[in-house]
């Protein structure tokens, strides 16, 4: 396959602060000369903020150039675990219209019936896909939904008079870090189960962890290696038997949507990421939505309010024993509307087809990638097909050439290929990488991706320094490796950077 020629745009774009010229303006407002005097003297700002002074066209062109200096899915991005998707532009148009963007969250429900109707309808659609009894959209990301579950777990056991006793949350080493992290933030002890040779923890390990201290299980399935734990229903049964709750982190829903439902496996709650599986744009990291769904047993504890329906009228209600809030208002509702639009465009058949496509394409990739020298997959001994992702290792390549997965990632960017996902910490295979093809990328895209990886591996064996010193055709080269953790070196603001350069520090 011919590799596409590529070079990232280079604009040598200065920082906005460096563009500043005293006296330039980007916006005018009507002048109210007496306005400042209305601020009590003791609190009046006398030294204006040291912000850049730029004109409107210069500022626009500055950010357009910065957008060009961001690859931003114009290349091929198979960032595993994040399920890169097409974000239908219709949904962007609808969500940016005044009918959505112009709504204040405290408007009277009579004035937002359209909004509430869509939120309600989407809740129903997610119920169909999961079997759960109620969804809420307040959590502003997947991790926030995990935190929601930790708070609900706290409230649930407290209501049963077992708050002090049930203080452990069980997860696995292959769960997303947000599960143990939010559990710990909510005050739980975290029990992390290790994997056995089958790629998931054993029932025995789970049984050994369960006790009358168990508050909940927080687990994903399949994991990021594309391995499905076939004992998961038994896990949930055992967790319930021990008195705990079971939460399904459905971050990796794309490969199994329409194939399984969290409720059917016994789970009390689950979470869907609308910015991953449901076609909502990621925005480089939000605004996002962790849609949290649960059974009637947990519904009284949900963060409120939730949308209820009476005929054609929609209202807001706060559950009786609500945990309160994990974030203000009802959540990123403009993103919920986009997810509604995506899901309606797909329909049940489209959803099933997308699940098929993502798993077909991953296994097609796997077959071809394993033919590339220096590439292996996690748990190579396991037979059978993986789901929508496979965790690979460049350990052999690293041993033989000294070229790391990060080096390969940087070099692939020279060919218009955006970063692959490596692995969450801790790495359980050496030099990991985790592409996820999903359903939006064409076979030609995937073939190009594989061809670039193969070409870079070939370079690594021929000329390892070429790869180790990459990128060479990007906006900028490789970072110097300066220790940014050193407070004398790292700087998150221009004012600090300037003070340091001027020798004031």
């Amino acid at each position: 396959m011919t590799l596409r020629r590529y070079h990232a745009p280079i604009w040598d774009e200065p920082l906005l602060m460096e563009m500043s010229v005293a006296g330039r303006r980007g916006q005018h407002f009507p002048i109210e000369a007496g306005g400042q005097a209305l601020i009590p003297e003791a609190l009046r700002r006398r030294i204006p903020p040291a912000l850049p002074e730029v004109s409107e066209p210069d500022l626009l062109r500055h950010y357009l150039r910065l957008s060009q200096e961001t690859m931003g899915m114009l290349g091929i991005s198979l960032f595993g675990t994040c399920t890169m998707k097409y974000n239908p532009r219709l949904n962007e148009r609808v969500a940016s219209s005044s009918a959505v963007a112009g709504i204040h969250p405290d408007q009277h429900p009579d004035t937002i019936q359209g909004l509430l109707a869509l939120v309600y309808a989407f809740d129903q659609m997610l119920r169909g896909l999961s079997g759960m009894d109620q969804f809420v959209f307040q959590a502003a990301g997947g991790a926030d939904a995990a935190y929601t579950h930790a708070c609900i777990t706290r409230a649930y056991h407290s209501a049963k008079g077992q708050a002090l006793q049930r203080n452990q949350i069980i997860t696995s080493i292959q769960s997303h870090p947000c599960n143990p992290a939010t559990a710990a933030t909510a005050g739980f002890e975290v029990v992390t189960l290790m994997l056995d040779e089958r790629g998931y923890p054993s029932i025995e390990a789970l049984k050994a962890a369960l006790s009358d201290r168990t508050a909940a299980l927080m687990i994903n399935n399949p994991d990021d290696m594309g391995i499905y734990n076939p004992e998961i229903a038994e896990w949930v049964r055992l967790v319930h038997e021990a008195g705990g709750l079971a939460f399904y982190d459905h971050a990796n829903f794309n490969g199994v949507m329409s194939k399984i439902r969290a409720r059917d496996l016994g789970f009390d709650a689950c979470m869907f990421m609308l910015h991953k599986t449901f076609g909502v744009p990621k925005g480089g990291g939000g605004p996002a939505v962790g849609a949290y769904g649960c059974t009637d047993r947990l519904r009284p504890f949900l963060p409120g309010p939730i949308v209820s329906r009476d005929g054609d009228q929609f209202a807001l209600e706060t559950p009786a024993e609500s945990i309160g809030k994990v974030r203000e208002y009802l959540g990123n509702l403009h993103q919920v509307i986009k997810a509604y639009g995506w899901t309606r465009a797909m329909g049940a058949e489209g959803i099933a087809e997308a699940s098929d496509m993502s798993v077909i394409l991953n296994n097609y990739m796997e077959k071809r990638l394993l033919a590339v020298r220096g590439v292996s997959r996690s748990h190579p001994q396991l037979p059978g097909w993986r789901l929508e992702m496979t965790r690979y290792s460049l350990g052999t390549l690293f041993e033989e050439t000294g070229v790391s997965a990060v080096d390969v990632q940087n070099r692939m960017a020279d060919f218009g290929i955006d970063a692959f996902w490596l692995s969450h910490e801790p790495w359980i295979v050496p030099q990991p990488f985790t592409p996820e093809a999903g359903e939006m990328w064409s076979r030609e895209d995937v073939d190009q991706w594989i061809a670039v990886l193969a070409a870079v591996v070939d370079e690594a064996y021929r000329d390892p320094d070429l790869v180790k010193s990459a990128p060479h055709r990007q906006v900028v080269g490789k970072l110097s490796g300066a220790n940014l953790d050193d407070l004398a070196i790292g700087a998150t603001t221009w004012r600090l950077w300037q003070k340091r350069r001027q020798g004031a520090l």
Binding site: L15, L16, R25, Q27, F29, G34, Q36, R44, R45, P48, P49, L51, S67, G72, M73, C82, V94, G102, H104, I112, L115, Q124, Y147, C151, N167, P177, A181, P230, K259, I260, D264, L265, G284, G285, G286, G324, K325, Y329, H334, Y340, T343, R344, M346, G347, A348, I351, E353, M357, D418, M440, R443, K478, L479, S480, L487, G490, A491, T492, T493, L496
Partner: protein, 465 residues
């Protein structure tokens, strides 16, 4: 299906022949064997109960438009709602920038391939730093309430104390978020939140605060302007007394005020938090929310940040570039041993905020601050002329309380009546703060013109007649 299958517009490989060709590469004629890891007893074979597919964009577009036509957005009416999400003007240039595909769609790349976005983020943190006068600013968090929650947890870890003081009359939503962040399944880790009495405009009662402050207090949290709009005149005094008790001072701010209001870095704040929504982000029913955390650039603060930190640095060949700082202390780096947690946040809004702050510059922030203060005060003054209304007339920025007790009417009934005039009255506080009677929080910004205030006054006069 009676019609021949057609490829879905979002799925390039879904044309039947293309799908078959991919399956053939795997030696299969159906996708079913690929799901062999899933036991049959786990499989769902029923109806997913989804509504009919609307794969035709023209149909879906009309369908969504028709439903959303039932909304009457505040931005199209005359609205005085604020309190945690505010109607400010969003310059068209900001919409253009934030709508760029390169910023809207991706997730995460390399420092080289994401260079432009990382620079935009650095410009965000730098400009927030300039507004609040702090040297260290993290990448954004979900909201003001979440920022306050994290800041409180930072202060608890820094001081090794577990009690905090907050205003009794603070935003109930932010307070509810803080309460969750302060809760713990471990009773020894719980953070005790004590509410300090406030005046009618939400300012802390300094003598009540002095009584409550002692060596067990981790932090004093207050807002400037307060939830009820009042500017905290005793800000420096509060920060000084917190410091002398060994407590951290956490200040929450509305950054759009900071062209005319003293920055918290100038009166002794240790940790500054606030909202980013007023800085160029549409309300979107609360979807526009974002929050930030800022501190001095000192190790005991830096080492407690839960957010990702985007630092300026250099490439091997001496170009400016950006990289992550102190990543290991995030939940990505250390799972349950990290600082709280991080994840997806409001990173796209950081770009909107950055563009907005750049457009405004020092003069823009001064002009908009003076304009808002002037219009809000003029509105308060006009409303105070209506018989039966008790209105705060000064000491605020853009929000002020209006008490209706003497009218004998509830805020809720008045707001119901105002809606007939296409006016959304101020936020009803009577449920949140029953001791304040029938009180509403009115918000006036640069989007309000004199005519809007006149319409409000005329409508209120009729409603109360």
């Amino acid at each position: 299906m009676s019609q021949p299958a057609r490829a879905h517009p979002f799925m390039p490989n879904s044309a039947p022949a293309l799908k078959s060709a991919l399956l053939a590469e795997l030696g299969l004629d159906s996708a079913e064997p690929l799901f062999g890891q899933i036991p049959e007893s786990h499989r769902f074979r029923g109806d997913l109960t989804q509504p009919e597919s609307l794969s035709s964009e023209v149909v879906l577009s009309r369908h969504m438009r028709d439903i959303l036509a039932r909304n009457r957005p505040a931005a199209d009416a005359i609205s005085f709602l604020g309190g945690g999400c505010w109607h400010h003007y969003v310059p068209a240039v900001v919409d253009e920038i934030v709508g760029r595909s390169e910023f809207t769609t991706p997730v995460w790349g390399t420092p080289s391939s994401d260079f432009g976005r990382n620079q935009a983020w650095f410009e965000f943190t730098s400009q927030i730093g300039a507004l609040v006068e702090m040297d260290m600013v993290g990448l954004p968090v979900y909201s003001w309430g979440c920022a306050a929650g994290h800041a409180i947890r930072m202060a608890v870890r820094i001081t090794d104390r577990q009690r905090i003081l907050v205003p009794a009359r603070m935003c109930p939503q932010r307070r509810a978020v803080i309460d969750n962040y302060c809760g713990s399944a471990d009773p020894t880790a719980r953070i005790e939140v004590t509410a300090i009495a406030c005046d009618e405009q939400g300012r802390l009662d300094v003598s009540a605060l002095a009584k409550a402050l002692n060596e067990t207090i981790a932090a004093v949290y207050f807002e400037n302007p307060s939830y009820l709009g009042g500017l905290e005149l005793a800000a420096a005094e509060i920060a000084a007394s917190a410091r002398s008790a060994g407590a951290e001072t956490i200040v929450g701010v509305d950054p759009i005020s900071l062209g005319v209001v003293l920055p918290p870095g100038a009166y002794g704040a240790d940790i500054v938090v606030g909202t980013t929504q007023p800085l160029g982000v549409h309300m979107s029913a609360g979807g526009g929310l974002g929050g930030f955390i800022a501190t001095r650039h000192e190790s005991h603060y830096a080492s407690e940040y839960p957010t990702l930190l985007n630092s300026i640095t250099e490439t091997v060949d001496g170009n400016t570039a950006f990289g992550l700082m102190l990543f290991h202390q995030s939940s990505y780096g250390s799972r349950e041993y990290g600082k709280d947690w991080t994840g997806n946040s409001t990173y796209l809004w950081a770009i909107a905020n950055s563009a907005y702050m750049g457009l405004m510059g020092p003069q823009g922030f001064q002009e908009i601050g003076a304009l808002i203060a002037s219009r809000a005060h003029a509105a308060a003054s006009r409303l105070s002329g209506i018989p039966g209304l008790r209105v705060s007339l000064n000491g605020f920025f853009k929000e002020f309380v209006v008490n209706f007790d003497e009218t004998g009417r509830s805020v809720s009934s008045i707001n119901d009546a105002l809606r007939a005039y296409d006016i959304f009255g101020g936020l009803d506080l009577s449920q949140s703060f029953p001791d304040m009677g029938q009180t509403a929080l009115y918000c006036v910004t640069e989007v309000h013109e004199d005519g809007d205030i006149e319409r409000l006054v005329a409508a209120l006069t009729e409603v109360l007649a």
